[in-house]
Point group: C2
Chain length 310, copies 2
């Protein structure tokens, strides 16, 4: 199946213990598509400024990402700057310059309106709704959002929620959206808002999937060192949604597979700056990481009947 | 095998969203032994004041806990008061009155010096060392500690570390002890200090086991509502160490089983105040929770060769 993502393309200036990167390729649609394109044909709808480096478009094109929907407008590209503490306990935003992204009005090219799988990255929920209006008959719609919209634009967010199959968000957002600080309560409340599935991302603590049939926990890949966590969530979403599109199925078992793929892909992102880890991602890397993550999960067997050795 | 725990017995005054409890039975040795006694014969070495209610000793005795090592001294019992935020994100200590615990000098009765399994709950590391001096030939020693000793009494703590088989601590303590905020790095550094196994408890995020052979993650039992998390860590330790003593084995596979048992037991503690959940714990409860936790763990299967449905 064919994936369409609507979101941001950006230049990030990032400082971590491992070093500094200025004007590194970033943005939700960028991370998502770099990940998703490993599994399914993926097109971006986004806006960039006149300063956007054609070599960066070329990097996406090389990964097979469709750029017909990327509009270049007068002005500068969206820029974000941030600094992380040594072990990523905290993140300080140094600047946010929306630039051309401030007036982004996604226009879906005719040829992309047939995409079966849609990922609405973190943009204004009203725009997310307009994208859905433009789509012909998507088989699966996934949505991301953030506290800014949860707290400030609740009404349009609530209007789009019943139109999506899956909401992906982090724990803090899930707690804010649901009003509960308990994961099970939060997931239940969010599913009552519309989406039949909810994925709650918890960074190094892994991710949870909630559907009517079951709830499921997948740990993060244990890493000895993280370089830059920027884009981890969108990479997870790209691996997750890309896998669903490749399989062309959206049942709970396939969602469970997608949880693992998203987890593995995100672990590649955070081991390098920007999209560098995603760019050199191979099937072999995924299979190796898959073995690694399976190794840390217990089968939780206990033989209750077993007595002692005495 | 026979378990000896050396730690505190206390009266806790606890406030959570679910209500208030004043002078509720608490303390590390209490929680530990209430848990451990479900699996193995367990004796406490601790001190209480003259105010200690004989009915509380009776509650322990009813669970089969040996109290020969519980000394009653002039003065009041150790008291702690705390208040938790609605979803247990934060805990505020309202008061700490060490009382008779301030001058606690553990004396191990002759009959208990043969215990094969020893749990050194959170007391001064010098006292932990003195307990070990008194023991004949323990087959397995597990140690708990806290930031207060890690930061303030590092030298005696380092002296006792090579004498223990297992260190149990939470993530914050592991980071403080190791100087690293990365779990894998922290565990490796701590194992280099002596213990051949390290268990890092992460509350609702579950727990990790690290040995030379493997690292292993066990999720917490997902709960819709927590009543009072006080004692969860000591209950985990009690289930864990009690299970090892019942099995009389300390290999990595048995440690992995103990991780699950500790997790299940701790989940019973936090669903009620004080030791109430532990007191009514049954084998049936454990088996039911065991099924529940196995249900949320994915086998992490991904069929990499599977194509799409199109």
């Amino acid at each position: 199946m064919h994936v369409l993502v609507v979101g941001s393309m950006a230049y990030d200036s990032v400082e971590t213990w491992a070093g500094k990167r200025d004007r590194a390729l970033g943005g939700s649609a960028t991370f998502f598509s770099m990940a998703s394109s490993h599994f399914a044909r993926t097109d971006i709808v986004a806006v960039v400024g006149e300063d956007f480096d054609p070599r960066d478009l070329e990097r996406l094109r090389k990964r097979g990402v469709g750029l017909e929907g990327v509009e270049t407008r007068p002005g500068e590209t969206f820029r974000w700057g941030g600094r992380y503490s040594r072990y990523f306990e905290t993140r300080e935003t140094l600047f946010t310059e929306l630039n051309v992204f401030a007036s982004f009005r996604p226009v879906i090219p005719e040829a992309l309106r047939n995409a079966e799988v849609v990922f609405l990255a973190n943009i204004h929920p009203r725009l997310q709704g307009q994208v859905l209006d433009a789509m012909r008959k998507p088989a699966f719609v996934a949505l991301d959002t953030m506290n800014f919209w949860i707290n400030g634009e609740r009404e349009p967010l609530m209007a789009v929620m019943p139109r999506v199959d899956l909401l992906l968000l982090n724990d803090e957002e899930a707690f804010a959206l649901s009003g509960s600080g308990n994961m099970l309560q939060a997931a239940e409340a969010i599913r009552a808002m519309g989406p039949r599935a909810v994925v709650i991302k918890r960074g190094e603590h892994g991710a949870w999937l909630f559907t009517a049939e079951r709830s499921l926990q997948v740990p993060a890949v244990p890493l000895r060192e993280v370089t830059d966590p920027t884009g981890a969530g969108d990479s997870f979403a790209g691996g997750f949604v890309g896998w669903l599109a490749r399989r062309g199925r959206f049942d709970t078992d396939t969602l469970a597979e997608a949880m693992v793929v998203g987890t593995l892909v995100a672990s590649c992102t955070v081991e390098d700056f920007s999209v560098d880890g995603l760019e050199r991602l191979t099937q072999a890397t995924l299979v190796e990481r898959h073995q690694r993550i399976r190794g840390v999960v217990s089968d939780l067997a206990v033989n209750w009947q077993a007595g002692g050795s005495e």
